[in-house]
Amino acid sequence: MSERRLDVRKTYKLYIGGNFVRSESGRCLPARSPSGQLLDNFSQASRKDLRDAVAAARAAGEGWAKRSPYLRGQILYRAAEMLENRASAMTEEIVRSTGVAAAQARAEVNLAIDRLVYFAGWTDKFTQVFGAVNPVATSHFNFTIPEPTGVVAVLAPDEPSLLALVSLAAPVILTGNSAVVIASERFPLPALSLAEIVATSDLPGGVINILAGKRGGLLAHIAGHLDINAVVNAVAGAETHQALRSGAAINLKRYAARNLSAEDWFTDAGQDPYWIGDTVDYKTVWHPIGL
């Protein structure tokens, strides 16, 4: 038997509708460490993968929004538990992908877990906090309640590859939205590993979908897709911003930009409860009283 063992390279797949699928295009890209060493391969999401992911998110959204807020919180907390359970593997994934020190990677993982727990707590509170009982002069009981807007496209920045993604996606899905997340382009592996952890939590398939690859080719299709109700963009750059905003006008997508530097994500700026309000629709009800 030979001394040298052949490398067994993994091909990370896309996470669509609770399944791990190769790209519809069949294309894969190499993931390299900062020093240029080949780590693994991963599927490159095409526009048709985006289409499939949106369809999966739409199908999953209705059932997810109907779960009780308490249960949604429990499920998000479960996702945090699963991440905690695999924290060291995730730390290793971040270290080999980005080249940061192990201590910093571990801090990123811990903070990502804490953010999940934090936002899990908001599931049964955002309606009270963001909703309102409005004073009106007529004999009506008038109240405003936030409801999930539907399918939300989330564009994660390149770094921090795990923490930013979690901090962006959690406030989106906690209200009952489903998300199509475009992972970090430079460091896609931590996001795709997160998909494998989320898949073993109780989050229903399709509530969060994770795509990887070159995001430039997807921007126009995200912007023009009529079945995407909102876009949360944390990728800097005027061109990205412009490409997304121009299409968003077609079906009045909500558009929220998150202008945070890589360091900002580790501060309180990366854990903003008001982000919840960016991907809900406010419904105001006039209920007659005192007749």
Binding site: L226, I250, N251
Partner: protein, 309 residues
């Protein structure tokens, strides 16, 4: 040809005259039709053709005259005029709804009125009431009758009764076209499907149709291919063109294009007309319309901008 059959075949019976079907080959060939790449202008033309061949169907206990009116409007003009989409081939309804459909469409409408009949979906009713039902439906203005074959009699081997019944219903149809529903999901084998197709065509069917939509599996590509081949061989033998209608389970535009490919490659262009090919569906139309709009406009569409059904 029947040397390999595992069951006894009476000499001179129709079972002897009808060829058997090789399951592996037919399924492989059918799967092959899904692999054609149909894009841009060909896709657009194909999808519009699908709409023109569609029997827009509602067969539910909760059908009301209002719902029939809605269905008729949708069949007449599936989408706004700028997309140049033709009207559907027909609406397909229960006998009690025929007069409502006729009233909403008026006489001389491009959309025909089809009615299921003869104890739909089971067919387990006396011939007398089946005939009465057929006469009522045609009297109320049905252009086409979708009758259900008596599967009980067929599976019991009483082919004469099946044949006689189809002949009698054909007589009761008068001017109306007769489609015979084989309910392939209950016929168990491809050999039975082929035999039932032959029986129906010889007994006077204008169309043969796969399913009621109430039994799973409904229309599948292989079962439709078996029936198309029966139609082809019947045409070679008699010169008579019989129509085909797969129904039930066809929900996506992509699936419907595979059916068109199969018809073209099995029967040829002559059959690519609403006179000889129909697709029975209730939810397919919206997906086809979404694909048409997507092809024209270039961006992915949302169900939010199309009617609920």
């Amino acid at each position: 040809m029947n040397a390999t059959l595992s069951y006894p075949v009476r000499p001179g019976s129709i079972r002897e005259a009808v060829p058997t079907v090789d399951q592996v080959t037919i399924e492989e060939r059918a799967a092959d039709f899904t692999k054609r790449s149909i894009k841009t202008s060909a896709k657009l033309a194909g999808l519009k053709m699908v709409v023109s061949m569609m029997d827009l169907t509602t067969l539910e206990g909760k059908d009301t005259p209002g719902r029939i009116a809605y269905l008729c409007r949708k069949a007449l003009r599936p989408i706004e005029a700028k997309y140049e989409v033709p009207s559907c081939g027909a609406v397909c309804v229960y006998p009690n709804m025929v007069r409502h459909a006729r009233r909403f469409l008026g006489d001389g409408s491009p959309v025909r009125v089809a009615s299921v009949a003869t104890g739909f979906p089971s067919g387990q009713y006396p011939l007398r009431t089946k005939l009465e039902e057929t006469r009522r439906a045609t009297g109320d203005g049905a252009d086409e009758i979708d009758m259900v074959m008596d599967r009980g009699a067929f599976l019991a081997g009483d082919h004469g009764r099946v044949s006689d019944e189809i002949g009698a219903i054909k007589g009761a149809c008068g001017e109306a076209h007769l489609k015979v529903i084989l309910e392939t999901g209950e016929l168990v084998t491809y050999d039975n499907v082929r035999l039932a197709s032959q029986l129906a065509m010889e007994a006077g069917a204008d169309f043969i149709k796969t399913s009621t939509g109430k039994v799973q599996p409904a229309a599948t590509l292989p079962v439709t291919l078996v029936m198309l081949e029966a139609i082809r061989d019947y045409f070679f033998a008699t010169g008579v063109r019989i129509g085909m209608k797969p129904a039930g389970g066809i929900r996506t535009a992509k699936q419907s294009l595979a059916y068109l490919v199969m018809v073209k490659e099995t029967l040829g262009d002559d059959w690519l007309t609403p006179e000889l090919f129909r697709i029975g569906a209730s939810t397919l139309l919206n997906d086809v319309l979404m694909q048409i709009v997507k092809t024209v406009e270039g961006n992915y569409q949302s169900g939010d901008y199309f009617s609920l059904s």
